[in-house]
């Protein structure tokens, strides 16, 4: 088995002088090319776990390695520039046009302007946005789905091997969400990315991810493929899996297979 691209070893993080335990002794490996979903409710520690990987949050204990390096000993700015990050509501800078938002990390890296411009057009194609129509718009002129596509393009701009996604599709309507999820999964496969995605939605995790990690109360409760998780025997994990299963069954019964009767 190849060395994992991201590896957490006995990682812990508390807030408010130890009063709030966010991540409690978590060990977790993410293999190269893998799409991992971290699932959990609010306060489960999943967002903290994600942010520890690019040092948006610093760990109290344990070791995190990315691409074989202990991140505690690398420059956090450089680390963040080589890891793509997709924020919850896009996190686009409202005063900067789409092209500027997408090209921000290459610009910070000192890439020449003409190369950035070419890369921006390439990325707009990749996330299926029309170059001419969207390049010079400001974020508030876009729909929620378009904003999140720009967010994905921005994360990919500096050709990272790793993409971290913080509930990227949570605020979108179901159709957009579905389309965007599928599009991203296709990009993940096409570009050979290693992706860690946070979601509170088990259905989304099952449909997109290769492997699912379940967090609760700061602890890593279970991890495995969707099929592997279902015969784990943990009550909480079972409940998380049963909901989509029941919904699927009811939907199957309620909806006629070929359009309106």
């Amino acid at each position: 088995m190849p060395a994992p691209l991201i590896s957490y070893a006995n990682v812990a993080k508390t807030f408010d002088d130890g009063r709030v335990v966010a991540v409690d002794d978590v060990s977790l490996d993410v293999a190269e090319g893998e799409f991992l979903a971290i699932v959990g409710g609010s306060g489960s520690g999943k967002t903290t776990l994600l942010r520890l990987a690019n040092r948006l949050i610093e760990a109290d204990r344990g070791t995190i390695t990315v691409e074989g390096e202990d991140i505690g000993s690398v420059d956090p700015i450089g680390l963040r520039r080589r890891i793509g990050y997709v924020f919850q509501n896009g996190g686009l800078f409202p005063h900067i046009a789409v092209a500027g938002n997408i090209g921000i990390t290459p610009k910070l890296l000192g890439t020449p302007a003409d190369e950035i411009a070419a890369r921006v057009d390439e990325l707009l194609d990749l996330v299926r946005l029309d170059r001419e129509r969207h390049r010079d718009r400001l974020p508030h002129e876009l729909s929620g789905g378009q904003r999140q596509r720009v967010g994905v393009a921005r994360a990919l701009a500096a050709r990272p091997r790793i993409v971290l996604m913080d509930e990227p599709f949570g605020a979108l309507d179901p159709l957009t969400r579905d389309a965007l999820g599928d599009d991203f999964r296709a990009l993940h496969d096409k570009l050979g990315l290693t992706t860690v995605m946070i979601t509170h939605d088990m259905t989304e995790a099952i449909l997109l991810a290769d492997r699912i990690a379940v967090m609760r109360g700061g602890k890593l409760l279970a991890e495995g493929t969707p099929a592997g998780l279902s015969n784990r025997g943990d009550a909480y994990v079972d409940e998380l899996l049963n909901t989509p299963r029941r919904q699927a069954e009811r939907l199957g019964a309620l909806l006629p297979r070929h359009g309106a009767a």
Binding site: N54, L56, I77, G78, R80, R81, Y85, F87, Q88, N89, G91, L92, F93, P94, H95, I96, I104, T105, L108, L109, R154
Partner: protein
């Protein structure tokens, strides 16, 4: 005569390059200094709550100090600093006019800039700060590419508020010797020249509006990323500054500065001195509207060259004597004391402008009051009004002690209004000035100070230390000495209190010249 054809408009217009130029210089310098201090402080304090609270606290306290008081406080402070610097490093600087005004106004500009910059930076969405970090920005890159641009509209609103405040408050720098558009307002208020007051207000308002709009243009440019707008706004402000600097470059620095305090007689006498100097071929300019505590120090520090003061004022205020001595003794002692500071007492003009208790002649006759002593028994049922400084002056303490005076109520008012107030019965007695023309105009009577509670107030010409051996100056002013008697000065003051074209200090000074036989 219609108000617009009043020749005082063109007289006011004539002063505009000088007043406006100085006003712009002092405001722009103060604003630049204020921004240079406030912006970095605000940015520095954005992650430091204690520093932030301290800064905003101090700036708020400064804001509660009235503008005039803040300006006035900087003068003695700088004077002390200048003395220190002279004794320690052998270099002195002028604590008069420009420097204290700039410092006080800069301090005054800090609150809106600090508050809006801090508020603007705090208002930036935390998710965007995280995004800036997440895409790999350093704290500095985050500040300049994300935080400041997003905070800019709020910051610019603060800067614009500061600019308007500074330009407005700069009109108050006149009493500490900084020429500004306030010269119109102070002079106009004192000489009842409403054209000047109006002109000064309009000019200051127009300047404030213009600067505000130019800053708005720059703000739009920054927001819309329009280099054209930024450039237009910046060029307009720069050319405003350059245009106002030009007249100053042409002005001779060798010119004599004639000081004047903040009342009509002083404006007339300083105009008279200026005319005498110009007639003798000497360049002269006026520094008008100086506070009476500022003007003496300004002379001693060579910031002005000549002015008229009154023996009793120096005796009681400047040298803190509380005993009242005969006129000749006071003059002799003053001459010695002044000489010790290298100030020349050139001589007396020939009249006295003393404080005196004044009331309507008819009322005084009805009540049988002829002297201050007669007034004492009636005073508890009466009200008294005086200018802003009288009740804290030793003369008032002296009057109360010597005559046991105690009034039912005391009020402070603008000197030019108190004569009308006592004539109409709104107050019973006022502390007026013996040389004031309004005493005759309103048929008032000066109550005799039979027990000499008030010292003599001979008007006298004082020369700055550096002008001690200046014979041209002495020769030009010599003809004035002993020539102006009380009746002449009263009439001059009455003329100056009129509200038409012949009542400007310059016109009255010309009349006075002719009256005392000078050409």
């Amino acid at each position: 005569m219609s108000i617009l054809s009043d020749p005082r408009w063109s007289e006011a217009l004539g002063h505009l390059p000088d007043y406006l130029g100085n006003h712009v210089r002092v405001s722009v310098t103060a604003l630049a200094l204020g921004l240079a201090v406030s912006l970095p402080l605000a940015i520095l304090s954005r992650h430091r709550p204690v520093l932030r609270a301290a800064l905003l606290g101090i700036a708020s306290v400064v804001q509660t100090v009235p503008g005039l008081a803040l300006l006035a406080l900087f003068y003695p402070l700088l004077l002390a600093l200048a003395a220190l610097s002279l004794s320690w490093f052998g270099v002195s600087f002028s604590a008069f006019g420009f420097l204290p005004s700039v410092l006080a106004l800069a301090l005054y500009s800090m609150l809106p800039v600090l508050r809006n910059t801090i508020t603007g930076l705090q208002g930036v969405d935390a998710a965007l700060l995280e995004a800036a970090q997440g895409v790999g920005m350093t704290p500095r890159q985050s500040l300049f590419t994300v935080e400041l641009p997003l905070a800019l509209p709020v910051m610019m609103a603060g800067i614009r508020t500061a600019a308007v405040w500074v330009i407005g408050t700069a009109t108050l720098s006149t009493p500490i010797g900084q020429t500004s558009l306030g010269n119109y307002i102070f002079a106009g208020l004192q000489t009842q020249n409403w054209v000047f007051v109006l002109f000064g207000c309009l000019a200051a308002a127009a300047l404030a509006l213009a600067v505000d709009q130019l800053l708005a243009l720059i703000e739009d440019g920054l927001r819309l990323r329009s280099r054209l707008r930024i450039a237009l706004g910046a060029v307009a402000i720069a050319s405003l500054v350059v245009a106002t600097l030009l007249p100053a470059i042409g002005r001779s620095s060798a010119s004599y500065a004639v000081g004047a305090k903040t009342f009509t007689e002083q404006y007339v006498l300083s105009a008279l001195i200026r005319q005498r100097l110009q007639a003798a071929g000497l360049a002269a300019s006026s520094r008008e509207g100086l506070g009476s505590n500022v003007i003496f120090d300004a002379l001693a520090a060579n910031d002005i060259d000549v002015y008229i003061d009154y023996s009793g004022t120096l005796w009681a205020n400047q040298f803190h004597h509380s005993d009242i001595k005969p006129r000749e003794t006071v003059l002799a002692e003053l001459k010695t004391t002044l000489a010790a500071q290298n100030i020349t007492l050139l001589g007396q003009l020939g009249f006295e402008n003393a404080y005196a208790l004044v009331m309507p002649r008819k009322r005084a006759e009805q009540l049988g009051i002829r002297t201050v002593a007669d007034l004492a028994s009636r005073a508890p049922a009466m009200s008294v009004a005086a200018d802003y400084e009288f009740f804290s002056r030793p003369e008032w303490a002296g009057l109360r002690k010597v005559y046991g005076l105690s009034f039912r109520a005391q009020r402070q008012m603008q000197p030019d209004f108190m004569y009308a107030a006592v004539a109409s019965g709104e107050v019973d007695v006022i502390a007026g000035y013996t040389s004031d023309g309004l005493i005759a105009k309103y048929d008032l009577v000066v109550l005799d100070d039979v027990r000499h509670a008030i010292p003599p107030y001979d008007a006298m010409v004082l020369l700055a230390p550096k002008r001690a051996g200046d014979n041209k100056l002495r020769n030009a002013l010599q003809p004035l000495l002993g020539k102006i008697n009380i009746a002449t000065m009263r009439e001059a003051n009455l003329r100056a209190a009129g509200n038409d074209a012949t009542s400007s200090p310059d016109a009255v000074a010309k009349w006075l010249s002719e009256k005392i036989g000078l050409k």
